[in-house]
């Protein structure tokens, strides 16, 4: 039904709204109260509709990539859908990196992009890009809205798809004329959705679950390997109960940190490329592996053909395509992590059977021996008496200072791995990093998204002097919205992770991984944006200065810590052709 301006309609209870107003109203009806975005021509009708309402707050970022990462941080830390609004063309393409980041880590997000008017599509119009096409490989789904009447249903579907099943980003591309304020249409938000082509997995198969429990109980060298799906799928409490009731060891992936409490004695640390010696070695020798919400990523398995040769594998995942993709599962279970873990616990409680306690005791003795030999938490595995600040001790200090309670976002590189290894997360949704895509520039905008969601919590962005410069402009967003976070820059004056690989694999030829005296003065830079800057260069002043910085509650503090530039991240799995347990433990020591 198309109603011209001024025309009366009889059905008085149906409201008439323009496409732009419909979009905003649909977002409100979906419960959205926060948008991250950046305006431009094709999105102006929508921006005007936002101006004329009160319940949705819009955060103006400084670059569309920042909007997507901020929405992503918001989503990861709350479990809600992050929402982004950008204009067509460059606005839309700037958002692509953040959409891909969310897609790789299965983060619920809805990205609304303006598009050129319908009659201009395909004509290479000003600021036209095929957003549905550009984003296609990095979204869960996308919509091009052809008619204003479709807006409520498209919004409803987009949010449903984004947050259910294996979550992911959904793009809604809206041509400008569809949001035209002078054309109004009846608005009704659909209560029910019917999508015959989309039915996310729910309950796992009962028979498979019983088989899995039987296999678990028969294990002599079990390991529980938990990933981001446990965090996303709200399965952390159930997982902890299961591990404690069986007294089995647990290792978390980079994405799964916090899915099992880092301070629990059953926690082996992270596994994979920079996983702990005990986690990787236990995996290698395991006879039963319970993989929950994890996807046997190549940074976890090392060489698939050599992966855990003696292990039978139970794999629980909501996404059937993740199961038996790289490593074949002996017992696949498709279902939500929470449902399946709940059922497993029920089954365990109702059975008389018990694991072979003496085997489990032996297994723990073995694991404790590995921990003693090379574990990251039984003794410092870095230099403790040198003149230079070690990056690991900075993370330890911040962990102590924040009592392990901070939300920690991170960028990508050595600093990320040190944070993952040394900040032990007891709760899910506290560790926020780009694990799948490995996006430098993620940390700062993500931290802003987290801070908006948790204004009273300590939010720390662990970063490197390389990564922080990829989205540094968001320091200005922090000023505008008064978002006091801590930026902890482990400044090693190099693209450290790249340099580490060049030192290990290219005989130290440091091709384009150093800046030759061109680094900015981060203290002045922070001050220029209205923040506080702190530079820490000497080992003796580390704790005092950190303490001072963390005492600041009301301002963003940029803490620029000069760390030992020669330090490498260890353990590091041997590549190529290594197995899980083949690791470098230091520059000179190999397993």
């Amino acid at each position: 039904m198309h109603i011209l301006p001024g025309e009366e309609i009889e059905e008085t209870q149906v409201e008439l709204l323009s496409g732009g107003d419909m979009l905003v109203r649909a977002l409100q009806d979906e419960g959205v109260n926060l948008l991250f975005g950046y305006p431009g021509g094709s999105a102006l009708h929508i921006y005007d509709a936002i101006f004329r309402q009160k319940s949705i707050k819009h955060v103006l970022v400084r670059h569309e990539q920042g909007a997507t990462h901020a929405a992503d941080g918001y989503a990861r830390s709350t479990g809600k859908v992050g929402v982004v609004l950008v204009t067509s063309g460059p606005g839309a393409t700037n958002a692509i990196t953040g959409i891909a980041t969310a897609c790789m880590d299965s983060i619920p997000m809805v990205v609304i992009s303006g598009q050129v008017p319908r009659d201009k599509i395909g004509e290479d119009a000003f600021q036209e890009t095929d957003m549905v096409g550009c984003s296609r490989p990095v979204v869960k789904h996308s919509f091009l809205v052809k008619n204003a009447e479709d807006i409520p249903e498209v919004v409803r579907k987009a949010f449903y798809i984004a947050r259910t099943g294996r979550p992911g980003p959904v793009v809604i591309d809206i041509p400008k004329d569809v949001t035209n304020p002078s054309e109004r249409f009846p608005y009704r938000y659909p209560e029910k959705l019917r999508m015959r082509s989309y039915t996310p997995a729910g309950k796992g198969h009962g028979g498979q679950i019983r088989k899995a429990v039987a296999l678990l109980l028969s294990a002599r060298r079990p390991v529980i390997y938990a990933g981001g799906g446990v965090v996303q799928g709200e399965g952390a409490a159930l997982l902890a109960e299961l591990a404690r009731c069986l007294n089995y060891p647990v290792t978390n992936t980079l994405m799964g940190l916090g899915a099992f409490p880092g301070s629990d004695k059953r926690f082996l640390g992270m596994l994979g490329m920079h996983g702990t010696f005990e986690a990787n070695t236990a995996m290698h020798h395991a006879d039963v592996i319970l993989a929950v919400g994890a996807r046997f990523d190549d940074r976890v398995t090392n060489t698939p053909g050599k992966f855990c040769p003696g292990a039978k594998i139970i794999h629980i995942d909501v996404d059937p395509a993740s199961i038996s993709k790289t490593i074949i599962a002996d017992i696949p279970i498709v279902g939500t992590v929470a449902f399946v873990l709940g059922e497993m616990l029920e089954t365990l409680k109702s059975t008389e059977e018990q694991p072979d306690q003496s085997a489990i005791v032996d297994w723990w003795r073995q694991i404790d021996d590995w921990r003693e030999r090379h574990g990251l938490y039984t003794a410092p595995r870095y230099q403790t008496d040198g003149a230079l600040i070690m990056p690991q001790e900075v993370i330890r200090a911040v962990y102590d200072m924040t009592e392990g309670e901070a939300f920690v976002t991170s960028d990508v590189g050595q600093h990320q791995m040190f944070a993952a290894q040394y900040y032990l997360f007891d709760k899910p949704r506290r560790w926020i990093n780009s694990g799948g895509l490995g996006t430098m520039g993620f940390g700062l905008p993500a931290a802003l998204g987290v801070k908006i969601a948790h204004p009273d919590k300590e939010v720390v962005c662990v970063t490197g002097e390389g990564s922080i410069q990829m989205c540094i402009q968001e320091l200005s967003t922090a000023t505008q919205y008064h978002l006091p976070i801590k930026i902890l820059c482990l400044n090693n004056q190099a693209l450290g992770m790249v340099k580490q690989w060049q030192e290990m694999q290219y005989e130290g030829r440091l091709s384009n991984s150093v800046y030759e005296e061109s680094l900015p003065d981060f203290v002045k830079l922070a001050e220029a944006y209205g923040h506080l800057g702190v530079k820490i260069e000497r080992r003796g002043e580390l704790h005092v200065k950190l303490q001072e910085a963390f005492a600041e509650r009301d301002r963003t503090v940029f803490i620029d810590v000069y760390v030992d530039p020669s330090e490498h991240v260890y353990p590091m799995q041997v590549m190529p052709n290594g197995s899980m347990r083949d690791m470098w433990l230091s520059k000179t020591e190999r397993t």
């Binding site: 549905v132 096409g133 869960k140 996308s142 091009l144 798809i161 015959r196 059937p320 395509a321 074949i328």
Partner: protein, 163 residues
Amino acid sequence: MRRIISVLMENEPGALSRVVGLFSQRGYNIESLTVAPTEDNTLSRLTLVTIGDDRKIEQITKNLNKLVDVVKLVDLTEGSHIERELLLVKVRANGAQRDEVKRSVDIFRGQIVDVNSSIYTVQVAGTGEKLDAFLQALGEHTIMEVVRSGVSGIARGEKVLSL
């Protein structure tokens, strides 16, 4: 192994590009692909032929099923099925050749659908193998132009792919 996968999907713009995109993105190959609306015009049916071992095919079907536009799919090669492809071929037909071509067309139960003094246009339907054999029988030098529709297929007996 060669597989024929039949897919029912929403008849929406962009749906086909998602299927094709999935194949290129994940490095699966497509031997042939056909698509057209069904009797229910909200649905299209797509038939694609691909090659891969069981594991690859399992991944392909799982990832196709994951596409939001895909309603249902079946691997026809898992059961007994009928496979058909349409071939149109333009052949030189002069003098003695005319009879020879005509004979081949009859043997392969094809039809001549257009004629002029020196050219036959022939239509043959059948499995890909049969069409290959027909082209071989014609011989390279007589063939002027070949167009093949790609494979469509349907299961034998009671089995149907529908909502």
